[in-house]
Symmetry: C2
Subunit: 80 residues, 2 copies
Protein backbone atom coordinates (compact mmCIF):
# COMPACT_ATOMS: atom_id res chain seq x y z
CA UNK A 1 0.00 0.00 0.00
CA UNK A 2 1.23 3.49 -0.85
CA UNK A 3 0.36 6.65 1.04
CA UNK A 4 1.05 10.29 0.23
CA UNK A 5 1.53 12.62 3.19
CA UNK A 6 1.57 16.34 2.43
CA UNK A 7 3.02 18.65 5.04
CA UNK A 8 2.56 22.42 4.73
CA UNK A 9 3.21 25.39 6.96
CA UNK A 10 -0.01 26.65 8.52
CA UNK A 11 -1.60 29.78 7.11
CA UNK A 12 -0.08 32.76 8.84
CA UNK A 13 3.32 31.13 9.34
CA UNK A 14 5.95 32.85 7.19
CA UNK A 15 7.04 30.55 4.36
CA UNK A 16 10.49 31.98 3.69
CA UNK A 17 11.35 29.28 1.12
CA UNK A 18 8.16 30.08 -0.79
CA UNK A 19 8.90 33.80 -0.63
CA UNK A 20 12.42 33.21 -1.98
CA UNK A 21 11.11 31.11 -4.89
CA UNK A 22 8.42 33.72 -5.62
CA UNK A 23 11.08 36.42 -5.74
CA UNK A 24 13.32 34.31 -8.00
CA UNK A 25 10.42 33.58 -10.39
CA UNK A 26 9.67 37.29 -10.49
CA UNK A 27 13.30 38.05 -11.35
CA UNK A 28 13.11 35.53 -14.19
CA UNK A 29 10.12 37.39 -15.66
CA UNK A 30 7.29 35.17 -14.41
CA UNK A 31 5.31 38.17 -13.18
CA UNK A 32 1.93 36.39 -13.34
CA UNK A 33 2.80 34.50 -10.14
CA UNK A 34 0.98 35.97 -7.13
CA UNK A 35 1.96 33.51 -4.40
CA UNK A 36 4.18 30.48 -3.81
CA UNK A 37 4.03 28.07 -0.90
CA UNK A 38 6.35 25.11 -0.50
CA UNK A 39 5.68 21.96 1.45
CA UNK A 40 6.91 18.41 1.75
CA UNK A 41 5.47 15.44 -0.05
CA UNK A 42 6.27 12.17 1.69
CA UNK A 43 5.55 8.93 -0.17
CA UNK A 44 5.38 5.98 2.21
CA UNK A 45 5.21 2.34 1.14
CA UNK A 46 3.49 0.22 3.78
CA UNK A 47 3.21 -3.53 4.27
CA UNK A 48 -0.35 -3.30 5.52
CA UNK A 49 -3.49 -4.78 4.01
CA UNK A 50 -6.19 -2.86 5.88
CA UNK A 51 -6.78 0.74 4.78
CA UNK A 52 -8.19 1.81 8.14
CA UNK A 53 -5.26 0.48 10.17
CA UNK A 54 -2.84 2.02 7.65
CA UNK A 55 -4.60 5.36 8.14
CA UNK A 56 -4.29 4.99 11.93
CA UNK A 57 -0.56 4.24 11.67
CA UNK A 58 0.02 7.14 9.26
CA UNK A 59 -1.79 9.53 11.61
CA UNK A 60 0.53 8.38 14.42
CA UNK A 61 3.61 8.82 12.20
CA UNK A 62 2.56 12.39 11.37
CA UNK A 63 2.04 13.26 15.02
CA UNK A 64 5.27 11.59 16.15
CA UNK A 65 7.71 12.55 13.42
CA UNK A 66 6.55 13.76 10.01
CA UNK A 67 4.93 17.08 10.91
CA UNK A 68 5.67 19.75 13.47
CA UNK A 69 2.03 20.32 14.43
CA UNK A 70 2.80 23.65 16.11
CA UNK A 71 3.49 25.28 12.76
CA UNK A 72 2.51 22.66 10.16
CA UNK A 73 -0.68 21.05 8.86
CA UNK A 74 -0.75 17.71 7.09
CA UNK A 75 -2.99 15.58 4.92
CA UNK A 76 -2.81 11.81 4.47
CA UNK A 77 -4.04 10.04 1.37
CA UNK A 78 -3.85 6.36 0.51
CA UNK A 79 -2.99 6.33 -3.19
CA UNK A 80 -2.99 2.57 -3.89
Amino acid sequence: MRAEVKVFLKDGVLDSQGKAVHHALDSLGFDMVSDVRIGKNIIIELDESSVSSAEDELEKMCQALLANTVIEDYTVEITK
Copy 2:
Protein backbone atom coordinates in the same frame (compact mmCIF):
# COMPACT_ATOMS: atom_id res chain seq x y z
CA MET B 1 -5.59 29.83 -10.88
CA ARG B 2 -3.75 27.46 -8.60
CA ALA B 3 -1.16 24.89 -9.66
CA GLU B 4 0.55 22.13 -7.75
CA VAL B 5 4.07 21.21 -8.83
CA LYS B 6 5.53 18.03 -7.36
CA VAL B 7 9.29 17.58 -7.54
CA PHE B 8 10.84 14.21 -6.70
CA LEU B 9 14.28 12.71 -7.04
CA LYS B 10 14.48 10.36 -10.00
CA ASP B 11 14.38 6.62 -9.38
CA GLY B 12 17.91 5.44 -8.73
CA VAL B 13 19.05 8.70 -7.14
CA LEU B 14 19.75 8.19 -3.43
CA ASP B 15 17.09 9.92 -1.34
CA SER B 16 19.05 10.45 1.87
CA GLN B 17 16.26 12.44 3.53
CA GLY B 18 13.80 9.63 2.79
CA LYS B 19 16.26 7.04 4.12
CA ALA B 20 16.71 9.05 7.33
CA VAL B 21 12.94 9.32 7.86
CA HIS B 22 12.51 5.60 7.12
CA HIS B 23 15.16 4.80 9.74
CA ALA B 24 13.55 7.15 12.28
CA LEU B 25 10.09 5.60 11.72
CA ASP B 26 11.64 2.17 12.17
CA SER B 27 13.22 3.27 15.46
CA LEU B 28 9.80 4.51 16.61
CA GLY B 29 8.31 1.05 16.02
CA PHE B 30 6.63 1.64 12.64
CA ASP B 31 8.12 -1.54 11.19
CA MET B 32 5.41 -1.92 8.52
CA VAL B 33 7.05 0.86 6.49
CA SER B 34 9.04 -0.54 3.56
CA ASP B 35 10.12 2.65 1.79
CA VAL B 36 9.99 6.41 2.18
CA ARG B 37 10.66 9.01 -0.49
CA ILE B 38 10.49 12.74 0.12
CA GLY B 39 9.84 15.43 -2.45
CA LYS B 40 8.75 19.02 -2.69
CA ASN B 41 5.22 20.22 -3.22
CA ILE B 42 5.09 23.73 -4.64
CA ILE B 43 1.72 25.51 -4.70
CA ILE B 44 1.72 28.41 -7.14
CA GLU B 45 -1.05 31.00 -7.44
CA LEU B 46 -1.17 32.45 -10.94
CA ASP B 47 -2.96 35.47 -12.42
CA GLU B 48 -3.68 33.68 -15.67
CA SER B 49 -7.05 32.86 -17.19
CA SER B 50 -6.04 30.32 -19.85
CA VAL B 51 -5.18 26.82 -18.63
CA SER B 52 -2.97 26.05 -21.61
CA SER B 53 -0.83 29.18 -21.27
CA ALA B 54 -0.60 28.58 -17.50
CA GLU B 55 0.68 25.06 -18.24
CA ASP B 56 3.25 26.47 -20.67
CA GLU B 57 4.49 29.00 -18.10
CA LEU B 58 4.65 26.35 -15.34
CA GLU B 59 6.67 24.05 -17.60
CA LYS B 60 9.13 26.92 -18.18
CA MET B 61 9.32 27.64 -14.41
CA CYS B 62 10.13 23.98 -13.69
CA GLN B 63 12.87 23.90 -16.31
CA ALA B 64 14.34 27.26 -15.25
CA LEU B 65 14.14 27.08 -11.47
CA LEU B 66 11.85 24.65 -9.67
CA ALA B 67 13.44 21.33 -10.58
CA ASN B 68 17.00 20.19 -11.13
CA THR B 69 16.20 18.03 -14.15
CA VAL B 70 19.51 16.15 -13.94
CA ILE B 71 18.37 14.39 -10.77
CA GLU B 72 14.71 15.34 -10.35
CA ASP B 73 11.40 14.62 -12.09
CA TYR B 74 8.37 16.86 -11.77
CA THR B 75 4.65 16.85 -12.40
CA VAL B 76 2.43 19.89 -12.90
CA GLU B 77 -1.27 19.89 -12.09
CA ILE B 78 -3.73 22.78 -12.31
CA THR B 79 -5.90 22.33 -9.21
CA LYS B 80 -8.37 25.20 -9.69
